[in-house]
Symmetry: C3
Subunit: 205 residues, 3 copies
């Protein structure tokens, strides 16, 4: 009889899967920026991971549309899954640009930023895990993600300032500047996810 | 006596008018990118359409402030009308840049993207029409807009990658890159509108 | 006994402090763009002001997490304080880029835009003050901020179009274009704050 009542708690599973999927993508991106020679293959893997993310997003939406009682507000489920999807898109965008623009080398700054994105992804997985229990440590994770985003911002700003000083070929400057900006977009995306999780926690405090 | 009670259902009319206004703008933009010679005149027409959009937005806000019972949450009316306004602004931005930067020619990629924006506008009109009845087909329309946005993204990324390969004049490269990015912004705007509509539907499922 | 019940009305004080902090930052930015020689010192002052903003944001979040009954929806407090934080970040970004990119001169357009940001900051302080009383004049302030943002947009677009006509050094063009875009981002941030305040008012109409 209760078979007709959809389980109302598997949304946290979707968040978990989306966060872990992002973590997979962030790992491959970090490798890609260590070994730019494999950019073609690695960017294809990241594209596949991004498609898995799309499937998770669509499944979440379909489940949401069939579920009567949700464990947290419907609109928050929607916002969070969209924000997680945006992060995955941003990671894919970095890999895609790196491959399409035919970067032959990488840079210390880009590698550092990829390492920060990986840390952000790990923290996001932790936060997603804590969300079901409305664990107050999420606040600390969010502060951590915020400070990682600030660090990414600093590295990107420094790297771009150096480009303006040293890079005499404007087209190369544009390419590298855009790479840093896309890496920064991904960091911003993690901050948005953190803000939404913080917002959900705030509602249930 | 009941004359004092404001009608509560004309917000859907505002959404409809805003969506149809965007459709008008998207049509002129498509023509502009077919015949760049008329850019001055066409961009002026789009600016006028954008001003009509502003009026619709302000009227919606004024009505919202005077209305006691709204058919959907007040904040969703606000978000949706703001998102529709943003799309119209983005279309105007493309036309304005095209005229101001004195593009002499157009490109196949820009034309394809304008055609996608036109399709997005048509789908948005359909979704706006379905919103009053909380029509479940809105979900399909949203998926369609999502896939149109992905297509726009692909075209834009390909076109920009080609610029980096072939365009030796950095200032020309910057101009064209920005044109594609603004076209892509408009496509993103349609996706935001779709997400908000999907979110409204989710609440009323 | 009532000592245990946290005061529920000091969130408006936080908004007020955040808005006044932005006003301080906008004032220094305006001076910086009048006298670019002091960019090093002035950008450091703005960075300090931005850190004060971070503290206000964190205090707000901590208070929100400890407060049971809030005067307006918890998520609106969260959105508004985040949007105010974003504006302060954007102002800091302008100053930081100006200093890092080693601009030797300023421009009339940049000065005009900084003056508009200062006006936006003044209006935001007024709106924050009116928010506690849900003062309907906030709507007028929001319309004013909207029209200031449109003006900033026009100035920025004109200035960038002139760059494409006159600036033959692509790297200089990129630098100035980015400066105008960051100034425009700050204006957009004020518009976001205004939209959120308008949204809060709409809920309580």
């Amino acid at each position: 009889m209760f078979g007709f009542i959809p389980k109302n708690n598997n949304f946290f599973e979707f968040f978990d899967r989306a966060a872990n999927n992002i973590l997979s993508g962030a790992r491959v991106l970090e490798e890609l920026l260590q070994n730019p020679g494999d950019a073609g293959e690695k960017s294809k893997i990241i594209k596949d991971i991004e498609h898995v993310g799309d499937t998770i997003t669509h499944e979440t939406m379909k489940t949401l549309n069939k579920t009567f009682v949700t464990p947290i507000d419907r609109e928050d489920i929607h916002s969070l899954i969209c924000a997680l999807d945006d992060v995955m898109d941003a990671i894919d965008e970095v890999a895609d640009k790196f491959y399409r623009y035919k970067f032959k080398t990488t840079s210390e700054a880009a590698q550092k930023m990829a390492a920060i994105l990986l840390k952000c992804a790990e923290e996001t997985v932790r936060a997603a895990t804590g969300l079901e229990k409305m664990d107050a440590t999420i606040n600390h994770i969010c502060i951590e993600i915020n400070s990682l985003e600030n660090e990414a911002d600093r590295i990107s700003n420094d790297a771009i300032a150096k480009l303006f000083e040293n890079e005499k070929d404007p087209i190369e400057l544009i390419k590298w500047k855009e790479l840093y900006e896309h890496l920064e977009d991904a960091a911003d995306g993690f901050e948005d996810v953190a803000n939404i999780m913080e917002g959900i926690l705030v509602k249930h405090a």
